[in-house]
Each structure stands twice: as C-alpha cells, then as structure tokens.
C-alpha cells in the first residue's frame, strides 16, 4: 500500500511544478486515487472483519471472558462454551501436517529445481499447480474414501504395535482423528510448499552455484550448503503460507477429524478444530450465546493466525539477516 501511494508523486522532477488540473487530465492523480482506494480497501476489510467478530461476540465475551480460552467444555444444551479443545485440535493437526509436508515438500522442490531436467521439472510443476487448485472438499472425499480406511486397517494398527509405548499412539483405531486430519492437510499443503520453494530455488543466482562447484564441492554440497541457505527466507515463507492454509482449512478437516471436542495426547483420538466446528455448527445453532460463542471462536482463529503470521515475519527477518550474512560473507 505504502509503495503504491509514494511512487506516483515522485515520478519525476516535473511533477511538483505541474498544475493539479493538468495532472488530472493526464490521469496521474486519478490513477493514484483509484489505486490508493483499492489498496486501502484491504485494510478496511481487515478492520471491518475484526469489528464484526468483536461486536458479534459481545455477549459471549462478557459471559466467559478469558476463561473461554481455558475452558474445555462445549455444551450447547447447558450453555457452556470453551475453546480449548478446538484450539488444541487446530494446532495439533497443523503441526502434524507441517511435520509431514515440510520435509517432503522441500525435498521435492530441491529435486525439481536443482536435479531434474528442465522439461521434467516444468511438467511436474504443471501437475503441482493443478493439485494446489483442487477444492478442499475433494481432498475431504479422498480422506474419507481412501485415507481413513487405510489408516484404520493398516497405518494405525502398525503404529500401535511398534510405537504404542508412546502416548502419541494409543486408544482404538477409528481411522478418523488428529493424525488422519493432519495427513489430509499435509497432502493439501505440499503443493504450496513445492511450488513456492521451487521458484525461490530457481531464482538463486547462477554464480552462487558455480562458485561452490569451482571450489570443488559436489553437486549436492553446492545445493545443500549454498543454494538452500541462500533461499532460506523464501522457503520459510512458503512454509508459513502452507501453515496459514492448514490453520483455516475447514471442509477437508471436518470430514476426517471425527468432530469430537476432546483433548487427548493420542493422535489416534478423534478431535475437532476451530474452523471445523464453526462450519458444522453455525448453520443450525439456536440461542444467542451459542451463536455468539461460535463467532468468538472465529475471533480466536483470527488472532491465532495473526500471531503465527507475526512470528513468521520475525523469523523471516531474523533468518534473512543470517542468510544474507552467509551468502555474502
């Protein structure tokens, strides 16, 4: 926004001396005004969104206050509402998704950018972009029909058998639950990580690679020790883009998470996430407090995303300083 509004007036030294009328006639001022309005609307929408969520949840905020975040009971009959199980579910499923998607996504991006022949890389990129554009309900169906049975019959029994001593893999294997939701989310966000990371890796200047190779490093060494660190900022950016999608994902999650607001250390347990509960309960929610609590959950999700995005910014700044320090010693 700031760039749009400042670049136009500083277009040339003549700008200051020309009359407003002539500038209007040339269209500079008009273009400036219109583009400024477009840019301002982004801020306006954000402000309005927060305002609406804040206003719409007034009753619930007064009733529960901050205990809304701590309370783990969600009981529409007795008007008891707490967000903790949903926050937990959102964070856990997103974490599982990142744990799976980040190594796979970055690995694939490195292959596509550095090792694969250009034609193969471009062809695969086409498919990856296609995957990124698939509507999430399709991933939900994929989850229900393929991943859930696979989880229940194969993956979860094996996890229980070999890793059952961990608290993470206990309880009955329903097929639905945190782990399954995390896996479906991982499948959904991998294309984002690959696509963005590949572009970033491809944009690393050629002389960086050549310098490393000239110093006698192998192809892998030049990739891993020079190219990837150089591109680190962008790669982290792609991860956070993926995280944002995972946090807010609604349809695919609600179809496979089991929709039960409980906090369990076991990833095999059914759970629920913020976006999922809003989508499934808002439509038929009766009673002021009930609807308002759902809106308040929306506000919580907004804040959660806001905080994580803020962290992402901080991390990008920190690593870009370190990254550039390494790249240009």
């Amino acid at each position: 926004m700031a760039t749009t509004s400042t670049t136009v007036p500083s277009a040339g030294p003549l700008a200051g001396s020309r009359s407003l009328l002539s500038r209007l006639r040339d269209g500079d001022e008009i273009a400036r005004l219109i583009t400024f309005l477009f840019a301002a609307s982004v801020v306006l929408i954000t402000v309005m969104l927060v305002y609406e969520l804040w206003q719409g949840s007034a009753l619930a905020r007064h009733r529960f206050g901050l205990s809304f975040l701590r309370n783990s009971v969600w009981d529409p009959v007795f008007d008891q509402f707490g967000a903790l199980p949903f926050i937990y579910g959102t964070v856990v499923t997103s974490a599982v998704a990142l744990l799976i998607a980040v190594p796979l996504g970055i690995g694939a991006a490195i292959f596509l950018a550095e090792l694969a022949p250009l034609r193969l890389s471009d062809t695969l990129e086409f498919f990856i972009d296609l995957l990124a554009a698939v509507p999430s309900v399709i991933y939900g169906l994929l989850g229900i029909f393929i991943i859930v049975p696979l989880m229940r019959q194969v993956v979860q029994p094996q996890l229980k058998r070999f890793l059952g001593f961990l608290l993470l893999f206990r309880g009955p294997a329903f097929g639905l639950g945190f782990l399954t939701a995390g896996v479906v989310l991982a499948i959904m966000i991998i294309p984002y990580i690959i696509s963005v990371s590949r572009e970033i890796l491809l944009s690393v200047p050629r002389d960086q690679r050549e310098a490393a190779l000239a110093l006698g490093s192998t192809r892998w060494e030049s990739t891993w020790k020079v190219v990837v660190p150089f591109a680190r900022t962008g790669i982290i950016g792609s991860i956070f883009l993926a995280l944002a999608r995972a946090l807010g994902e609604t349809m695919a999650v609600t179809m496979v998470i089991g929709n039960t607001p409980i906090i369990s250390s076991s990833l095999l347990s059914p759970g629920d996430s913020i976006a999922s509960v809003i989508a499934s309960q808002f439509k038929e929610a009766t009673g002021e407090l009930y609807t308002q609590s759902l809106i308040l959950l929306g506000l919580v999700l907004f804040l959660l995303t806001f905080i994580l995005n803020g962290l992402a910014r901080v991390m990008i700044v920190v690593t870009s300083q370190r990254g550039s320090g390494m790249a240009h010693p």
Binding site: V77, F78, A279
Partner: protein, 342 residues
Amino acid sequence: MKRIVGIVLVGLGLASFLLARATLSITGAGATFPYPMYSKWFDEYHKKNPSLEINYQSIGSGGGIKQITEGTVDFGASDGPMTDEQLKTYQDKHGFGILHFPTVLGAVVPTYNIPGVTASLNFTPEALAGIYLGKVTKWNDPLITSVNPGVNLPADDIIVVHRAESSGTTYVWTDFLSKVSEEWKTKVGKSTAVKWPVGLGGQGNEGVTGTVKNTPDAIGYVELIYAESNKIPYGNVKNAAGVFVKASLAGVTAAAAGAAKAMPDDFRVSITNAPGKDAYPISSFTWLLIPSKISDSAKRDAIKGFVSWMLADGQNYAEALSYARLPKEVVAKEKQALTNIQ
C-alpha cells in the same frame, strides 16, 4: 440499428418489470430436512397459481427461527418447535405471536454395522440410551442380547457415531433419549447439538452413514428417508406400548395419531415415545412458523391459501418423497388454527 436494439431492450425491461410486479413473491427460510418436500409443494402450487411464487432457503432450523424473528422472511420452518423463550422474544419484538403449523412427519432410525450380523436388530430405549451414554460398551451386553435371541453378537466395543453439526435429526434423537432416560435428560439433554458423552461425529446423514459403513461395530442414527433411499439396514425400536417396531411411514403417522388426541392448540408437541402399539417411537413433526399477524393482505391470503392447499392436496405428494402424511385429526385442527392468522 443501435437504436432498435435500445428500444427493444427498454421494452423488455419494462415488460419484465410489469410481469415481476404482477407476481407476488413470498420468501421463507429454515429446516433442511423437509426441503425436498417443500420445494415440490412450492413448485406444484406455483403451477396452479402462476401469480404466486414462494422462495424457500433451506438454511437450517436455527436459521429459520432467527430469520423469522428478525422479520427478514415471511415465514420460517423448523424441525424443532420454538422454545417459550424464543416465542417471548418474538412477541416482545413484534407485538404479536408466531404460530406453528405441522406439515409432514419424519423418523430417525438406528443403523449399525456388525460383521457377521445380518438380522434386523431389536433395540430397547434403555439399550440406546446406555450405548449413547457410554455405559453399554459391548455388543454382547445383556441389554442388547436379551431382546435379540438367536443373534450371535460379538464381544466387541461399540463405536458410537453421531451427527457432528447441529441438526433437526439430532434434536429428534436426543428428544427421544431424554424421554426414555432420566440420566440422559439431566446429563445431556435435548437440542440440535449436544455435548456427546461418547463417540465420533459424522458430517450430515451421509457422514454418519459413511462412518458406520466403514467402521466395524459402529452404530449411528439417520433419517428414515435417508436410510430408505440408500438401502441402509436399520433396527427396530421398542415403543411405549412395549412392541418392537420397524420404522415405516405408517408407523410414523400412527405415532402422530396417538399424540393427536393430546395435541396442544399451538401444535408444539413432541411425538417421540408416543402411545399406541403401531407407533414408531422416534418420530417428529416438522413445522412452518407463520406470524399471527400479516399486515400485507395479499401476502396473508397467499400464505393461508398455500397452507390450506398443503393440508389437503399437498399431503398426497408426501409418500412419494418418503415423508409421512399428517393424521386426519391434526389436519382438521390446523385448518381451524389457520383462521387465527390476521
């Protein structure tokens, strides 16, 4: 050439404007469960009365109550009757009340998936409440085996499935459980969404069915219409007279007839666990919510006209769409109540 196009366009615009003014448009919103029935009715009624168009948005019962209370629609529709509190809110806001008109009936059935069991299982209300409270946890629990002689039930854990989102189906199911189990009533209660003591949530009828189908030893509940049209096996439930009844349209109407004698004047009645030996116990009305005072006389006449048609000819469309028709006693009573709309 351009001018001719312009004139034609203006003419078309005028014509459509006049036509639009000639038709009266009525809007309603609410329950999703009777939506197929309502859209059929509104369509048929429009064919008979081309000047009247009824638009219905199936946004859910809660939404229907909300919208009629805010006055943004001409009528609402709900699978559960409005509570006293909701009625009072409406009265305070508008200065007149809201009337309930039952339209058709539906039922909810228990569906299950037990490997090796093909027989139609019998369920007592105690067994269903126990299963959903998490107290009956094995399929070979005496509460289940005692009423299913000759069926070899496994010693496996029961996996309970319920609706994830709030829905009228859940309202009927929990209303029934509240009536037959004191513990359910005090611990869980009845609502379109509750705090489930146990189980997994499936999204919609299809989500519950899908989860039950894919999960061995699972039990769930779905609308009768849905079970019928998708050929899903479902169990018999013991009614208040002590008879195990398999859900059917006739059984649902029988439940309504049993309750009709004690029908209150405002039609806000629950017919779960209804008396009568043919009555299927997990049945429910679905209602239209109509303001008792409609100041626009054209709209008032149109709504009244539609409701009286729905009560007479409209009922004949119900069975083809797997909805149970209203018993005669209820129809007569509703016709009388129609005069209360002013």
